[in-house]
Structures are given as structure tokens and as C-alpha cells.
């Protein structure tokens, strides 16, 4: 979108993801307009996108809140992402050119380097990881699929989980990517699908372990907070 609207989107998104507003807290369009420095019109446009991505939600009477993700919500998204991204891997295996596979290798070399630093460069890891998955989705050549996945991948994962990965988690991710590249090089779509499946499912469990046990309540961090 255009300047003001795009800026508002990025600013609001950053504002929410930074954690400076609690989950479940109310926001108003005026507030956001002041924060972002643009008028309510582009703010409304940005908010609509963020609602789409489920970062913001509206009450039944149109009031605006920061979304409050339960563990079940997260699991649901991982399941859907796994389903769609396995499909993407399968299609990509049939379509990736030699050059594209080489590009994936390069991306994963970068990712691996980020992991093997001490301490690991998590930001660089996340960026390389994002690029790697995006390249696969692009190669699947299914615009609708890309669009659906965008909504699932964007919001919840990067959310506040950036720093829950141990180095061994990161290393395993890098190895998964290596195996994916091998599957692609072999043009084995079944293999690619299977690797992608376990890759994402493991990511879910890593996440789940950090979030807490299964029987828990919805992520209820709105009462007690930082003293």
C-alpha cells in the first residue's frame, strides 16, 4: 500500500509485537493515528490488514483489541501451516530449477553460519529461515497457497518466540533444511513433504515446550506483569 498506510501498518505491527501493549488490551484508532503520525484513514486500512493476520481482533461491537493467543490457537496454526507448507514443498520439489536449489543451499549456509556463531545470531537466523521458506513457497508456484501461508507464517511465529530457541534447536533446523535441499536435488517430492512435515512439527513442540503444558489456560498474561 502507499506511504502512510504502509507506514502505519509497520508501526502498529512493531508496536504490538514489541510487547509494549499487553494481549487483550484495547486500542483505539485515534491512539494509533497519533502513534503513527498519520490520520485515521490509513490507520484503518492498516488495522484491517492486522485483523486479517489475527494480530488484532475486534469485539462484537467493533472495538479493537490486541489478540490474545491461546495455546490451542497456536497449535491450530501450526497444524494448518504444516498441511499447507508440506504441500508447497511437494510442489516445489517438482519445479525448482538447479539455480533455485543452489540459492536455497546458499541461504542455508548463511543460516548455519548464524547458528554456529557464539552466541548464535538469532535475528540473522530468523531472517535466513524466513527467506528459505519463502523461496520454497514461491517455487511451488501457487499464488493462492502463498497468500494463505503468508497469514499463518507471519503473525504467530515471530511473535514473541524469537528467543526461545536453544542452539541445538537451531542446529536441528539447519540440518532439516539441508535434508530438504537434498530432497529437492533428488526431485523426490515425497521426501521433501516428509522432511517439511517433521521440521514444522518439531518447531511446534519446541514452541509448545516453551509456552507450557497442554492443559493450560489461554495465554493469560494480562493480570500480573512486570514489576
Amino acid at each position: 500500500m502507499s506511504r502512510a498506510s504502509e507506514h502505519a501498518y509497520a508501526a502498529i505491527r512493531a508496536h504490538v509485537l514489541s510487547g509494549s501493549v499487553a494481549a487483550g488490551e484495547q486500542l483505539t484508532e485515534d491512539q494509533l493515528a497519533q502513534i503513527t503520525g498519520v490520520s485515521r484513514t490509513p490507520v484503518r486500512e492498516a488495522v484491517r490488514r492486522l485483523e486479517d493476520e489475527l494480530l488484532l481482533v475486534r469485539s462484537d461491537t467493533k472495538r479493537l483489541f490486541v489478540a490474545d493467543w491461546s495455546r490451542d490457537d497456536i497449535e491450530e496454526m501450526f497444524v494448518l501451516r504444516q498441511m499447507l507448507e508440506c504441500h508447497a514443498a511437494e510442489r516445489a520439489a517438482k519445479r525448482l530449477s538447479r539455480e533455485q536449489i543452489a540459492a536455497l543451499e546458499a541461504l542455508n549456509r548463511d543460516l548455519t553460519a548464524a547458528v554456529e556463531q557464539s552466541p548464535p545470531d538469532v535475528a540473522r537466523f530468523l531472517e535466513a529461515n524466513r527467506a528459505f521458506h519463502e523461496a520454497i513457497i514461491d517455487a511451488a508456484h501457487s499464488p493462492r497457497l502463498g497468500q494463505l501461508l503468508a497469514r499463518l507464517v507471519e503473525a504467530p511465529v515471530v511473535l514473541r518466540t524469537a528467543r526461545i530457541y536453544s542452539q541445538s534447536d537451531l542446529r536441528q533446523s539447519a540440518r532439516d533444511h539441508d535434508e530438504l535441499v537434498a530432497a529437492f536435488a533428488a526431485r523426490d517430492s515425497d521426501w521433501a513433504r516428509a522432511v517439511m512435515g517433521s521440521h514444522l512439527r518439531r518447531a511446534f513442540h519446541t514452541f509448545a515446550r516453551a509456552v507450557g503444558p497442554k492443559a493450560d489456560e489461554p495465554a493469560n498474561d494480562r493480570d500480573g506483569s512486570e514489576p
Copy 2:
């Protein structure tokens, strides 16, 4: 959304689906505002939704056009819909209450009645069909899944395909639904998934047969037109 915005959405959608504008034709927000009788503000909101549903598209320079679906686009959507809705059927099989199964049966009785009229009441069929599938998706209890499917199911299917179904197609649909209900009653999620898969894949082929052979170009009705 609220009154004006919702009205604009419905009116524009109907306007496009009615076929009174050709695929690929340009629209302007002013035009749509006049047609719908509201100002550009709610029109823009409605247009965003329709872009989301891929009924409208914007050029690289933000100009607005009626989307032009190729056969590949349609197949892609059917594939994705099948993947997601099979998942929904599987989950629904584990969750549907006795009452909900009875409600599905009732819906399908209505659908069958519509089919067995002569001539078949296609509008009533479509409505019952929509309600049937929606009930299953709801029962899957996966809000994200529902949201993703909404975008896939809404746009392309009803599009301009309402009247390509033969009575035998419709009868087969009714039988599929019966079998789905049976699978649900048996709480057999594998069965439900399988039936849903063949149900949707057959729908695709019915559609594809009507649209034309595989090697075709994108639906290219924009050059030669009315003299």
C-alpha cells in the same frame, strides 16, 4: 462490517458475479460508489475484502480490475480447498454431536428434494449445499481453518458455474453428502476425509469439463466483445 460498507460489499459482489462486467475490465471507486449509493470510504473497504477474495485485483499501479481466472487458477483453488476441507471433515467426524449430525441429515434431505424436482431447483441446491459444508467446517472447531476456507469457497465456485450442473451431477452430490453423514455417524474420520476428497475432486472435474480442455489459455474474453 457496518451498514454502508456491508451493503457496498454485497452490491459490488453481485454486480461482478452477475457477469454484467467482463473479466479484466477496469472499475473505479467512484463508479462503484455511484452504483452502490454510498461514498468512496465504505466502497474502499468493500473493495479490499473483494480483493482478498480475489474477485477483484489491482494492477501494479493500484488500478482496479475484475479478476480474470485461468483454468489453472481454478484448479489450484480446488486443490487447496480439497486439502483444507478434507481436514475439516476429519476433525468434524471427531466432534460432531448427535444433534449436529441430525441437522446435516435434514439439510441434505432439503438438498435432495431440490435436486429431485423437475427441473431441479439449482438455487435451493446451492444454498443447502453451502449450509451443509459450512456446518462441517464449523464443527471442525478451527476458526483459522474456517477463515482460510471462506476465501477459497466463496469466490470461485458460485462464480458463474451455477448452471453447469446436470441433474446426475447434483444427484451424485446428494449421495456424497449421504455418505458423509454415514461416516460422521460412524465417527470414522478416515472415511469422512476420503468421501470429502472424492466429492470435491469430482466437483473439480465437473467444473473443468464445462470450462474446457486443459491446454487452454486463460479465460481471455477481453478483446473481442460487443460491437
